[in-house]
C-alpha cells in the first residue's frame, strides 16, 4: 500500500543527492565510452598503426601512440570493456557467495554459523592477491572471464561477515518473530520479511565489490598474470612500464588507464556513500 509512495521518496532524495549525481555521471560516462568508443576508432588494440612509434596525442591519435605505434585510445576503450566485465562478473560473484554464506550463517545460527564463520575468518586472513597470484601462475590459459571468476571466489569473506551481522540483527527484530509465531514458512519469512530490508544494503555491497574487483584485476594484470589475449587497463600500464615509457617520458601511455580506474572506482565509492544517504534517513544532509 505504501510502496509507491516510498519509492518516490527514495527517488526524490536520489535526484537531490550531489554525491550520487556526480558518482553516477562519471560511471555512466565511462560505461557509454565502453560501448561507443570502439566506433571512433578504425584500429585494433595491437595493430601497428603509426610507423613513427611513440607520439603525443594528436587529432589523428587522440591519446597518442605507444612505442610500437599502437593507438593508445583504441587500447583504452577495449581495456575499459575488460574492466567493466571484471567488475560485473567478479563483483557479482563475490557478492553472491558472500551474501549466501553470510545469510545462511546469520539466519541459521548454531553449528552452521560456527562452521561458516570459521571458514569466513580463515579466508579473510589469507591475502586475496597471494591466492590469485599462485592460481594464475599455474594456469596455462587465462582469459578475462576466468580472471573474474577467481577474483569473485576470493573476494567474498568481508561481505559474508557484514551480511551475517546484518541478518543477525534483522532476525531478532520483532516483526520477524511475529512472522515466525504466525506460522509463516521459513522461505516466506526470508523473502518477504528479511530480504526487502536488506536490499539496499546488498546494493551497496555490490558496488564496493565491483570496485574491489576492478582494482584486484588491475593488480594481477600489472604483474603479468592477466588475460593472455585482449587488452586491459592493467596490461596497458604493465607494457608502459616494461617498455620504459617512464624514462622516455611517454606520459600519454600510462596516464589514461590509471586515471580511468581511479575515476571509475572513486565514482563508485562516492555513489555508494550517496546511496547510503538516500536509503538511510539518519545520514541525509538535508
Amino acid at each position: 500500500m505504501t510502496e509507491p509512495k516510498k519509492k518516490n521518496e527514495f527517488l526524490y532524495f536520489a535526484l537531490r543527492n550531489n554525491k550520487l549525481r556526480i558518482g553516477l555521471t562519471v560511471v555512466f560516462f565511462f560505461l557509454v565510452l565502453t560501448f561507443v568508443g570502439p566506433q571512433f576508432t578504425d584500429y585494433t588494440p595491437y595493430a601497428y598503426v603509426n610507423p613513427m612509434g611513440a607520439q603525443p596525442p594528436s587529432s589523428e591519435h587522440w591519446f597518442g601512440t605507444t612505442m610500437f605505434g599502437q593507438d593508445v585510445f583504441t587500447q583504452f576503450v577495449f581495456g575499459l570493456q575488460a574492466t567493466f566485465l571484471v567488475g560485473i562478473v567478479g563483483g557479482g560473484l563475490g557478492t553472491l557467495i558472500g551474501v549466501v554464506v553470510g545469510f545462511v550463517a546469520g539466519y541459521r545460527g548454531g553449528i552452521v554459523d560456527e562452521i561458516l564463520s570459521t571458514i569466513t575468518n580463515i579466508v579473510l586472513v589469507i591475502p586475496t592477491l597471494a591466492i590469485l597470484l599462485i592460481i594464475a601462475a599455474y594456469l596455462e590459459v587465462r582469459g578475462v572471464f576466468t580472471e573474474s571468476i577467481f577474483i569473485g571466489c576470493t573476494a567474498w569473506p568481508w561481505t559474508a561477515r557484514a551480511v551475517r551481522a546484518q541478518t543477525f540483527s534483522l532476525r531478532s527484530r520483532e516483526f520477524v518473530d511475529l512472522a515466525r509465531l504466525s506460522g509463516m514458512n521459513t522461505w516466506k519469512i526470508i523473502f518477504q520479511e528479511v530480504a526487502p530490508n536488506m536490499m539496499s544494503y546488498l546494493l551497496l555491497v555490490f558496488i564496493l565489490q565491483f570496485g574491489g574487483a576492478i582494482l584486484n584485476a588491475a593488480t594481477l594484470d600489472f604483474i603479468g598474470l592477466g588475460p593472455m589475449e585482449g587488452i586491459s587497463l592493467g596490461m596497458m600500464m604493465q607494457y608502459a612500464v616494461l617498455w620504459g615509457a617512464l624514462h622516455l617520458g611517454h606520459w600519454w601511455w600510462f596516464v589514461p588507464p590509471g586515471a580511468a580506474i581511479m575515476a571509475i572506482v572513486g565514482a563508485l565509492y562516492v555513489t555508494n556513500v550517496g546511496l547510503d544517504e538516500v536509503f538511510n534517513p539518519k545520514l541525509r544532509e538535508m
Partner: protein
C-alpha cells in the same frame, strides 16, 4: 582472555595449515605439468628433455604417492626447506626470500603505521567540520580508489624523471656497497621515499574516510549526547569518541593487511625495489614455481604474525576483552 587468544590462535593455525595445503595442492592438481613447462623453455633435445624430466620429477619428489608427497612437504617445511630456486639456481628459496624480507619490512612497516596514524588523525578532524570535511573526504575517496601502481608510476615519472629529485630504481645506488655510513643511509632513504610515499598516500585516504565515518557515528551515540548534555567541552566529547572509534580501525588494520601486501607488491615492481614483490615478478617471468610458492608462504606467515600482534594490541587497548566480556567477537 585465554579464550580469546585460544580462539584466535586456533584460527591462525588452521589458516596456516590450509594455506600451506593450497600451496602444496595447486601445482599438483592444476592442469598442465610445471616440470614440462619449465623444460620447454630450455629448448633441449628430445632425449635430453626426457632425462631432465625424470631428474626434475625425482628432484622435486613427484615420483612418490601423493599422500607421501604431502607428508614430505610438511617435513621439509618444518626444516625450513622451501626447495631450490630455478631462476637463481642453485640458491635455496629460503635464502633468497630472507634477503628480500628486510626491504619489505623497511617499506611496509612505516607505510602501514604512519598512514594509519595520520589517516586517523585527519579523519577525526574532518568529522563534523564543514571545511575540512569538504576537502579531506573527496581527497580520501580519490586516493583510496587509486591503483597503487599508477600512483607509483606517476610519482616516479614526476619526481624521478621530470624533476629528477629522486632515484626510481633499486634500494640503493648500484655504485654503492651496503655499509654503515651516512652517505649510504641517505642513499637508502632517498630510494625508499617514493615507494613509501605511494603506499602511504593510498592508504591514508582509506583510513581518513574510515575514521571520519566512525567519529560521526560515535558522536551520535548516547554517551556523547549525555556528555554534551552535562556540558562537557567539545574537545572532551571528541576524545571519548576517538577512543571508541579507534577500535574498529584496529580491527580494520588487520583485515587490510592483505590489500597492503598487494599494493606493496606492485609498488616494488614499479620501483624495482628488491622486496618480495619484485622477487615474485622475477619468479613469474622465469616460471620459477618454487620461488612463487615460497613467497606465497612467506606472505601468509607475515600477515598471520601481523594479525596476531594486532590482536595483542587490541587486548591492551580494549579492556572489555581482558575481562572476558569479548569486546570483539572472533
Amino acid at each position: 582472555m585465554r579464550r580469546y587468544f585460544g580462539r584466535k590462535l586456533f584460527i591462525y593455525a588452521l589458516t596456516f595449515f590450509l594455506a600451506a595445503t593450497i600451496d602444496w595442492m595447486i601445482p599438483r592438481f592444476m592442469p598442465g605439468d610445471p616440470v614440462q613447462n619449465m623444460l620447454s623453455r630450455a629448448a633441449l633435445h628430445a632425449e635430453a628433455a626426457e632425462v631432465m624430466h625424470g631428474y626434475y620429477t625425482r628432484a622435486f619428489g613427484l615420483d612418490v604417492p601423493v599422500w607421501q608427497q604431502y607428508i614430505n612437504f610438511w617435513i621439509a617445511l618444518f626444516h625450513g626447506d622451501l626447495g631450490t630456486s630455478v631462476y637463481l639456481f642453485p640458491q635455496p628459496v629460503l635464502q633468497i626470500i630472507m634477503r628480500a624480507v628486510p626491504y619489505d619490512i623497511f617499506l611496509l612497516l612505516p607505510a602501514i603505521l604512519l598512514s594509519w596514524l595520520a589517516g586517523n588523525k585527519f579523519g577525526a578532524f574532518a568529522a563534523r567540520s564543514k571545511w575540512l570535511d569538504n576537502t579531506i573526504s573527496p581527497l580520501g575517496y580519490i586516493l583510496t580508489a587509486t591503483p597503487y601502481m599508477w600512483l607509483g608510476i606517476l610519482l616516479a615519472w614526476f619526481f624521478g624523471i621530470v624533476l629528477g629529485i629522486f632515484p626510481i630504481a633499486g634500494a640503493y645506488s648500484f655504485t654503492m656497497r651496503p655499509h654503515l655510513s651516512w652517505a649510504f643511509v641517505g642513499n637508502l632513504l632517498k630510494h625508499w621515499f617514493l615507494p613509501f610515499a605511494s603506499l602511504f598516500l593510498v592508504k591514508f585516504g582509506g583510513w581518513a574516510i574510515g575514521m571520519r565515518n566512525m567519529i560521526i557515528y560515535e558522536l551520535e551515540a548516547d554517551y556523547s549526547h549525555y556528555l554534551e548534555a552535562l556540558g562537557a567541552p567539545r574537545k572532551l566529547v571528541r576524545q571519548y569518541a576517538y577512543r571508541n572509534a579507534i577500535l574498529p580501525q584496529i580491527t580494520g588494520l588487520g583485515l587490510d593487511l592483505g590489500v597492503v601486501v598487494a599494493g606493496a607488491l606492485v609498488t616494488e615492481v614499479v620501483f624495482s625495489y628488491p622486496g618480495i614483490g619484485y622477487l615474485i615478478l622475477a619468479a613469474i617471468q622465469n616460471q620459477d614455481y618454487f620461488l612463487i610458492q615460497g613467497c606465497f608462504l612467506f606472505i601468509i606467515i607475515g600477515v598471520l604474525l601481523a594479525n596476531f600482534i594486532i590482536d595483542i594490541v587490541y587486548v591492551i587497548v580494549d579492556p572489555r576483552t581482558r575481562t572476558g566480556m569479548q569486546g570483539e567477537t572472533v
